[in-house]
């Protein structure tokens, strides 16, 4: 253990702390600067889904501009003087065009009316008109509608306060970050992929060492692979049929002398040895010059026909495809040569020293693609398509009519971009032809099952590669995920470990301009490569400077350079998300400003002493200082995963680590609880639980019912579950308060007794107190939306809504119309039962009425009412009826039907510790155990749930909650929060309990409610926050005796929704056979359910038919009815024969007398 150095600063600050003794060492926080306030400050500035919004903002402010600029000129093919140029672009405010009038729209309006929340993309253009090519200008030309992310700059919600949001019908706690397309909320999930433009050294499936680079530029995406196969090194590229020896490639790029190649890789003789077989192979092929090399490669090109004939196909491949992101200026391949050299060198390093392999699963080698980037890909494609369509039209026009060339501005059609963006986001299919990108499921419907579910969606990261791979590597928890990705929140099953979630403080970067940064590096002493020889590049002591994967040059004093860059970043001279990472192993400095890196804020420490002092925090609390001020003043900085490797991060300022010099600490965590994500943040004491339990809770927290949003009662979701009396957890965490779960809770604080009771509590079932249910515990509201569209068939023919028919006394003719109002639509507040009509729609009998002039009469309509299908015996109520016209201008009637449910046996409940259970039985309160104070639990949980699950957190939640109710203060259980005071310690909780007359261990003396005698054990009892999960018996129970059948096969229908049969499957059949009841199968499945009588021709063995008129059977094959026999067989069997016949297979029956 090291004694903290008593620098001047430290001494001053620690004035009230006694000089270091063993006691002060044992104390975890000697002088706690309460850094916690930084968290809310951070979230206030950035919001919960800042990465989505930042990314989209970047796109609509910068990205779209870059795209337009890169493709700003279109011209006619036969006359380049006819052109159109885009000069400016901007995205307007969300609006729709109704009858040539532009109306601004709000997100909530879009949700209710099935519209897309989109804003016009407007461009300024200049173009030529007429034969003289007069230049004309036009401003604010519409080129399409862009779906707008909620709370982005373009969204009307941006910067609005709570009252304004309420006026717009929006929930202030809703984080935004999603789109509304055709009325449904869609999230573009964060996509995880391997870093672009970075060298990855790995082994392939055959165990060969490979170096691969996925290059990505605006024009092209390519993958370059260099393999070591049988000691020789080859280049693999899709454009070549065979691997090309690497020396040939080098020669083709103009590096003709072998010495130069070796020098480029490095002069270490070991490299030379490894390179030797390749050089030898090249020589044996008699390739010595660039010309010969190119010729050799030309023969191996996949499609030799295409390409630039003049300079040879392979040269253009080398220039445009081979490590495409390395530029070739004026035909100078030197940069590519150096890059290849570095690739080779890294490969050889890996061969010589196995631990220099790159880890594909390392988070630093990953990039996250966010909605902004994905949309920009799509938009660029659509924009180009639109332009090329315009050019096409122009060409066609000018080919047809020689007269006056039309102007381009007429040919810009905005529909393609609008519909393209809308379709992609609503289906989630991202098809980009240029990059041959076909991705499915990029966007998903935002789940509004609970507040947590929607937040969870916003932080979810989906992997790129398919989930079927059984590999464990990518699924494992990576140490580099610390603080960036939540270690708990991942689904179970096939996507386990692949689908991840962001941690609380993670930020995902957006692209930053490269030019100024490169210049800055150069002026800080980076030597340009073009001036250096291969020998000089790899001179010992000098480091290569890599900038976003490109080799920028080299630097002789890497540490000085890195420090200088970092100081510039801390003083705000360069972007705060630029990362400077000194890689000692590779002798490289990586500077990254590209988008998609994950990073997080950390407090900067000088020799282990935090730069954030108490007075800073006071200023923050007083509102004088914001989180950005901390950044600007260089107190806090963002580190990405790579740069974290250059940092030594302490958890707390004054904790003495056993094996770490305090002076070498460079950063301090803001709060340890920030390593968890939003969803796992609501678990109290997660650090006391067995880890899988936290993971289970992360999955279940999303299924819990509760309050969804402040505007929940005005929403029109197709299915909405609400809890009647949702509560805030008694045992909270700091994360809960940060994300607003305390305002939109999804559960109730139930007094739980941990004991066995009644035997109906085995296998995690819980026993519930009937009186608690009477008083509203676990009561929920299920609201379902039923939409009826009043169809329009053209020519004035449409459906109509008829008022319910009444006889002359005014009584309803049909009883199932009782829920209807006089307008023919169910009245809000009306009770609606199974088979009741909720919209009395009538459709015209004949749709096609061309020519028939007369208006439709009553008799021309037939009833086509919308009938409510509910559960018999349940009372449901019509909550709301909404009428709106949909996008096709048809009237759509939305009835929202509400059902209030109280818990019943079989409903699923769970605590926040992955402890789910169904309600096993409901017991009268008088039968429940009670304490001397009269406390009676709301539910009883079996203690067997604990030993194997090891959810100690739940136990602490129980006693913490108990202390909380007795002393009237919400207790905290934040992750790893004990040292910093964000979690109450068990000892303190016990003291509180004692103070209020409870036992320190949370156990109570209970009496049996049945017999009145004291229970023979003390019962662990106290409040635990219980969630009611969406799985309810009412939605699932299903039984049938006889019922509907499928028309074709005459087999019972399938599935609950169709009142289907319960399958007696193979295994059940096996059971019956094994039991010896095979005749039962025969009887039940055949004789009593599926018999069919057929006529069989004894001669040809085929099925005939029975002619009822002539009362004879007839074989249509033999054309007579002579040899017919009657027999019975299952209908399914008859169907099989007929289907076989339809496929030209003849099933013949051979009959013998039985």
């Amino acid at each position: 253990m090291t004694v903290p150095p008593q620098g001047d600063d430290a001494a001053k600050k620690d004035k009230d702390v006694p000089p270091p003794s063993y006691r002060s060492l044992a104390a975890p926080v000697a002088n706690p600067v309460d850094k916690f306030a930084l968290l809310p400050a951070f979230l206030k500035v950035r919001g919960l889904v800042k990465e989505h919004i930042d990314s989209f903002n970047y796109f609509i402010t910068r990205g779209i501009r870059n795209i337009i600029q890169a493709n700003n000129r279109i011209e006619a093919r036969n006359d380049p003087n006819i052109y159109l140029r885009y000069t400016n672009v901007h995205v307007g405010t969300p609006s729709v065009q109704v009858d040539y009038k532009v109306e601004e729209i709000t997100p909530h309006f879009c949700r209710l009316t099935d519209r897309t929340y989109s804003a016009p993309i407007k461009v300024d253009i200049e173009y030529t008109v007429g034969k003289q090519h007069e230049l004309q200008f036009k401003r604010n030309v519409l080129i399409g509608y862009m779906p707008i992310m909620l709370r982005s700059y373009a969204c009307i919600l941006h910067g609005k306060d709570e009252a304004e949001l309420a006026r717009l019908g929006e929930c202030p706690l809703d984080p935004g970050g999603y789109f509304i397309v055709k009325g449904t909320e869609k999230v573009i999930l964060i996509q995880e992929q391997l870093s672009k433009n970075r060298i990855i050294i790995d082994t392939d499936s055959k165990g060969r060492v490979i170096a691969s680079v996925t290059s990505s530029t605006h024009e092209i995406k390519s993958k370059t692979v260099i393999t070591l196969d049988k000691e020789k090194i080859y280049l693999q590229l899709n454009q070549f049929t065979k691997p090309i020896p690497i020396i040939v490639v080098m020669k083709a790029m103009g590096m003709e002398s072998d010495q130069e190649v070796v020098q480029m890789v490095g002069r270490d003789p070991r490299y030379g040895d490894l390179l030797f077989p390749s050089i030898q192979e090249c020589a044996s092929e008699r390739i010595y010059t660039q010309q010969q090399a190119l010729q050799y490669m030309d023969e191996k090109v996949t499609y030799p026909g295409a390409g630039n004939q003049k300079e040879g196909r392979s040269k253009s491949i080398l220039r445009d495809v081979f490590i495409a992101h390395v530029p070739v200026k004026n035909g100078n391949f030197r940069q590519k040569c150096i890059y290849t050299g570095v690739m080779l060198r890294r490969m050889m390093d890996a061969i010589l020293n196995a631990n220099t392999f790159d880890d594909k699963d390392y988070v630093g080698n990953k990039r996250l693609e966010l909605s902004g980037q994905l949309i920009s890909l799509l938009f660029e494609d659509l924009f180009k398509t639109m332009n090329s369509q315009a050019v096409e039209l122009m060409n066609k026009n000018s080919d047809k009519t020689r007269s006056s060339p039309s102007d381009f501005s007429q040919l810009i059609k905005h529909e393609s971009i609008t519909s393209g963006l809308e379709r992609a986001i609503s289906t989630g299919n991202w098809d980009i032809k240029r990059f041959r990108m076909h991705r499915k499921g990029v966007s998903q419907v935002l789940s509004r099952l609970s507040y947590m579910a929607s937040l969870g969606y916003m932080t979810r990261i989906t992997p790129q590669f398919e989930k079927t791979r059984k590999t464990s590597g990518p699924r494992a928890l990576q140490p580099s995920q610390w603080g960036m990705l939540c270690p708990c929140d991942t689904p179970e099953g096939e996507a386990c470990g692949l689908t991840k979630n962001l941690a609380l403080l993670t930020h995902v970067t957006t692209d930053q301009e490269e030019g100024p940064l490169m210049n800055l590096c150069k002026s800080l002493g980076v030597e340009d490569l073009s001036l250096l020889s291969g020998e000089e590049i790899h001179a010992p002591g000098s480091f290569l400077v890599m900038f976003n994967g490109l080799i920028l040059g080299k630097h002789r004093q890497p540490q000085t350079f890195a420090n200088a860059m970092r100081n510039l970043r801390r003083s705000g001279k360069i972007g705060e998300f630029v990362s400077i990472f000194v890689n000692e192993k590779q002798h490289c400095i990586h500077i990254a400003s590209d988008g998609g890196r994950v990073c997080r804020p950390l407090i900067i420490a000088d020799k282990g002493i935090s730069r954030v002092k108490e007075h800073h925090m006071k200023e923050l609390r007083d509102g004088v200082r914001s989180f950005d001020d901390f950044l600007r003043d260089g107190l806090i900085e963002y580190l990405d995963v790579n740069e974290e490797n250059n940092a030594l991060i302490a958890l707390y300022e004054h904790v003495d680590q056993d094996d770490v010099e305090r002076s070498s600490i460079t950063h301090i965590e803001i709060e340890p609880l920030s390593i968890l994500g939003v969803v796992s943040g609501l678990i109290p004491y997660p650090h006391h639980n067995q880890s899988p339990r936290n993971t289970y809770q992360c999955a279940m927290g999303k299924q819990a019912m509760g309050n969804i949003a402040y505007n929940q009662l005005f929403r029109a979701d197709s299915l909405l579950y609400l809890l009647v009396y949702a509560q805030r957890p008694l045992l909270t965490t700091k994360t809960i308060e940060l994300v607003g779960y305390d305002k939109l809770g999804a559960g109730q604080n139930a007094t739980v007794a941990v004991m066995g009771y009644s035997g109906y509590d085995i296998e995690d079932a819980i026993v519930m107190n009937k009186s608690s249910l009477d008083r509203g515990f676990g009561r929920c509201i299920a609201m379902k939306k039923y939409t009826v569209i009043k169809e329009y068939y053209g020519e004035g023919v449409s459906d109509r809504i008829a008022k319910p028919q009444r006889d002359k006394d005014g009584a309803l003719v049909k009883q199932n119309m009782r829920a209807l109002d006089e307008d023919g639509i169910a009245a809000p507040g009306q009770i609606i039962r199974n088979h009741d009509v909720y919209v009395n729609k009538q459709s015209p009998k004949v749709i096609d009425r061309r020519g028939a002039g007369a208006p439709l009469m009553d008799r021309d309509y037939k009833d086509s009412p919308a009938i409510y299908k509910g559960v018999d015996g349940e009372t449901t109520v019509v909550d709301r009826v909404m009428l709106c016209s949909d996008t096709n201008e048809k009237l759509s009637i939305k009835c929202i039907i509400r059902h209030t449910r109280r818990p019943e046996v079989g409903d699923k409940f769970s605590s926040r510790h992955g402890q789910k259970g169904v309600c096993g039985t409901i017991v009268q309160q008088e039968d429940f155990p009670f304490s001397e104070r009269g406390i009676c639990p709301d539910l009883i949980m079996n203690p067997h749930g604990f030993p194997s699950r090891m959810t100690i957190g739940k136990m602490i939640e129980l006693i913490g909650g108990k202390a909380g109710v007795s002393c009237g203060r919400f207790h905290y259980g934040s992750a790893f929060g004990e040292p910093s005071g964000n979690a109450d310690k068990v000892e303190d909780i016990s003291n509180t309990l004692i103070k209020h007359g409870f036992s320190y261990n949370g156990k109570d003396f209970l009496y049996s409610g049945i017999l009145g005698h004291p229970l023979e054990a003390y019962i662990f009892m106290g409040p635990i926050y219980y969630q009611k999960l969406k799985h309810m018996v009412l939605d699932k129970m299903h039984a049938r005796a006889s019922g509907p059948r499928v028309l074709l096969t005459r087999q019972p229908t399938e599935g609950r929704s169709r009142d289907g049969g319960l399958r007696l499957g193979e295994m059940e059949r096996d059971c019956l056979i094994a039991y010896g009841a095979s005749m039962l199968i025969f009887e039940r499945l055949l004789l009593s359910s599926d018999p069919y009588q057929v006529q069989v021709c004894r001669k040809c063995g085929l099925l005939g038919y029975y002619n009822y008129k002539l009362k004879t059977s007839y074989c249509s094959m033999c054309k007579n009815g002579e040899n017919m026999a009657k027999m019975r067989l299952p209908y399914a069997c008859k169907l099989l024969f007929q289907e076989l016949q339809s496929m030209n297979v003849v099933p013949r029956l051979k009959l013998t007398e039985g």
Binding site: L713, V724, K770, S771, S772, D774, R775, G776, R779, I781, G829, V877, D879, R898, T900, Q924, Q925, E926, F930, S931, E932, R933, G934, I935, C936, G997, Y1007, G1009, L1011, G1012, H1013, P1014
Partner: protein
Amino acid sequence: MDRPAAGSSYQRFPRVRIRELKDDYAKFELRDTDASIANALRRVMIAEVPTVAIDLVEIEVNSSVLNDEFIAHRLGLIPLTSAAAMQMRFSRDCDACDGDGSCEYCSVEFNLSARATDSDQTLEVTSNDLRSADPKVCPVDQARAYQLALSGNDYDPNAERGILIVKLRRGQELRLRAIARKGIGKDHAKWSPAATVTFMYEPDILINEELMDTLTFDEKRSWVESSPTK
């Protein structure tokens, strides 16, 4: 074995001593019987003593934020004065009516009508807004306020406030008719007359005076301090 002849009585004569008795609180000792009797008393008090509670609600207008069932449930849980419950009939036994609450023997009608007029303040609809058709049956806070007013005792703000049913914003309205019926706690907790009913064995504490004498004053004091019930 010597057994008494069959038919002899084993009746006990329990003794009762009241320790505390208030309007809403009672505490008494029960001696010379066993826990089964005490528990039976407890169970009956929770589940089988009939009271009156709102059971049927007919909602005329409800533009509040809470839905109809929600309000009906809340109304049901409002405690009503139930002294008249013993004279009332269970509506299922009532011959005078068919149980729809239209008869005086088995049901009491309540009316509630509240509307937030044009002011910016939210209107709190409480149990005090319930108008009973039968003065014998009304929400308990109303009854208490009435009693306090009668006795001229000091004004109790809590009684005045009533039990919150729903809050109305400007322009919202709630109008309903509710029927209270007799029932027992077994059927629904709203008919349970008692909030908490519990009993305990009272320990017989014998102090070893001899040993006590050996303690110093401070020790004695800390011994007294250690009492959990002090």
